[in-house]
Symmetry: C2
């Protein structure tokens, strides 16, 4: 678990990073540097978006899978690496 904390600290220390949320496959926040409200809001929205993106990718090719989703907006960049912990 120490290396997860180190990774979160390393990401959090990058310029402009507002927060880090670690979510399980069902979209539940396992660890977050944001407050509870923001964590709940972000994880719910990102979970829905990731599911929709996974569905779109599988519709194009059922043997393929989403590994990374990046959103850039006028104000922020949201990076969503999808790591599968088996």
């Amino acid at each position: 678990m120490a290396d997860v904390e180190e990774t979160i600290k390393r990401i959090q220390s990058q310029k402009g990073v507002v927060g880090v949320i670690v979510m399980d496959n069902a979209g539940r926040a396992i660890r977050s540097t944001l407050d509870d409200d923001q964590t709940a809001q972000y994880s719910a929205l990102l979970q829905t978006l990731c599911e929709r993106a996974k569905g779109a990718i599988r519709e194009l090719d059922s043997t393929n899978d989403l590994t990374f989703l990046r959103l850039r907006t006028k104000k922020v960049s949201v990076l969503t690496p999808l790591l599968y912990i088996l």
Copy 2:
């Protein structure tokens, strides 16, 4: 219009690029280097995904807007810069 064609050629010539689709705000393909079936399939899926992503961003901050969506999968990378031609 010539500079659009040049840009498409430049993107298309990049290593690994399978195709380029230019879509309007309503998700209609204006120009594509893919065949009609692929163009219809990709543009429908990406339009839905972009709308969902835009909605999620606005739910977090109604003054913000999506400018770029990138999907990386096991096999390909799909880049979706959202350019607003006013």
